[in-house]
Symmetry: C2
Subunit: 291 residues, 2 copies
Amino acid sequence: MNIAVVGLGLIGGSLCKAIKKYTDNLILGIDSDSDTIKKALSDNSIDKQISSEQLSTADLTIVALYPLQTVDFIKNNAHLFKKNSIVIDICGIKKYTVDKCTDILKELNVNFIGTHPMAGREFSGYDYSLADLFLDASFIITPREDSDENSIETVRKLAEKIGFGKIVISTPQKHDEVIAYTSQLAHIVSNAYVKSPALFENNGFSAGSFLDLTRVAKLNENMWTDLFMCNKAPLVKELENIIEKLNEYLSALITDDSKLLYNLLKDGRERKEKSAVIFPQKNKDGNFNGK
Amino acid sequence: MNIAVVGLGLIGGSLCKAIKKYTDNLILGIDSDSDTIKKALSDNSIDKQISSEQLSTADLTIVALYPLQTVDFIKNNAHLFKKNSIVIDICGIKKYTVDKCTDILKELNVNFIGTHPMAGREFSGYDYSLADLFLDASFIITPREDSDENSIETVRKLAEKIGFGKIVISTPQKHDEVIAYTSQLAHIVSNAYVKSPALFENNGFSAGSFLDLTRVAKLNENMWTDLFMCNKAPLVKELENIIEKLNEYLSALITDDSKLLYNLLKDGRERKEKSAVIFPQKNKDGNFNGK
């Protein structure tokens, strides 16, 4: 089929490269930056550049933009998509994009499906895109009750072909609640972690724990501001929770209550071990998490 | 020289194996668990078992116990160490052990030097010890003003020989302030991170950020309770700081202030990048941190 990819950033570019590497689909690229298009053409990541007007030639359109841009793009180009074709987004929050985009496209007989490829790097942009970025990663699909079954199946098969290790079907609401915890909170905590005066005094003192805690502090503030603001309620809940928990450790320290501190640490260690048994996951070093 | 190692846990066992692998020193082992001694003898990590009374045959004694145990052991066996020999500890906090142990041993003409090998694993005990645990890691030495220069030099040379990548000289006070941030806070934040109801709903939703944030949640609560309680003031300061910072993000979300949220994220990203330029460090995956 003809697949249009809108936005050749880290994820859009990696999707082009992966689809090219693992399938025979024709890839049509759209990007506002002409240099990026040139690079993608010259390294054969896309077959040709198209204009928005030519979206009508695509059987599947992947909109790989930030949340607000995604909704804007779909709103502004709604009438250009091929009837009965599929349009997907790849944003890290799903209720916001799925609700808005599905409603816009449904009455035009275009099938919108929300997806979230759970992969990334500490870098942004086409130059860092990789054909194998998605190997072993999770691909989350968040259909609504009124979503087209065949479209879901087409998207699922494509994800499997380009290397995703696990396809997860969830609702937009559930996705956003869990992602607020597993991804969004991690980025905020990491970003807050580097805001100690001790940061610039740690030469020779930083072990693996510090590097792990602060790795994702290096985030793209343009994208993440959107993602956080579009998922306010679940994220506020998670932030309030970890602040409450941190205050328990603080209180144990201040009151010299070593028994309470011990119990707080033991409870955390046991929860971590239990979760690692239920959901064994490979760390970056190839070891299974918690084992 | 004859090196006694007291406590063949993860660090003590690894030190035996590293000294055996990289030097010709004779290693004398002390451990309360007879099975551990048997294992260490059978895999040739120690040359022989000794009793506390035989500590007088050691030129260097490495006490590889938890903080409270370390001070107790040195207090109870102070008169058994060889005159003019060196005794070091390996605890993750230094003011507590250095102050107590130096004073006890000084009047007996035994040279105490505080050290902190910055290495570890998410596992405890001799079975997980490794000869190459310390490769490329930092070895921190925290002498007092009245510490014996020759003893510092002997300890430094040994650390270099067994693979440490960097030897850092610091004061006990400075060490404890920085370590409260780079290591202790990381363990508490990670341990608190797993205390969300969403923990057990994350199958397929957890990317690298979640795994990084929660890796050290699996800690040894016996050891860390001691370490935290012995370093209360600096740790309280760091905990209060991160709670204050997290509340800034929370407040920006609640008040829908996306400009403020953006600025908070940008500031964190810039601090992380700046620190990575000043202190380039390899991540577990071999990439330089932040580059």
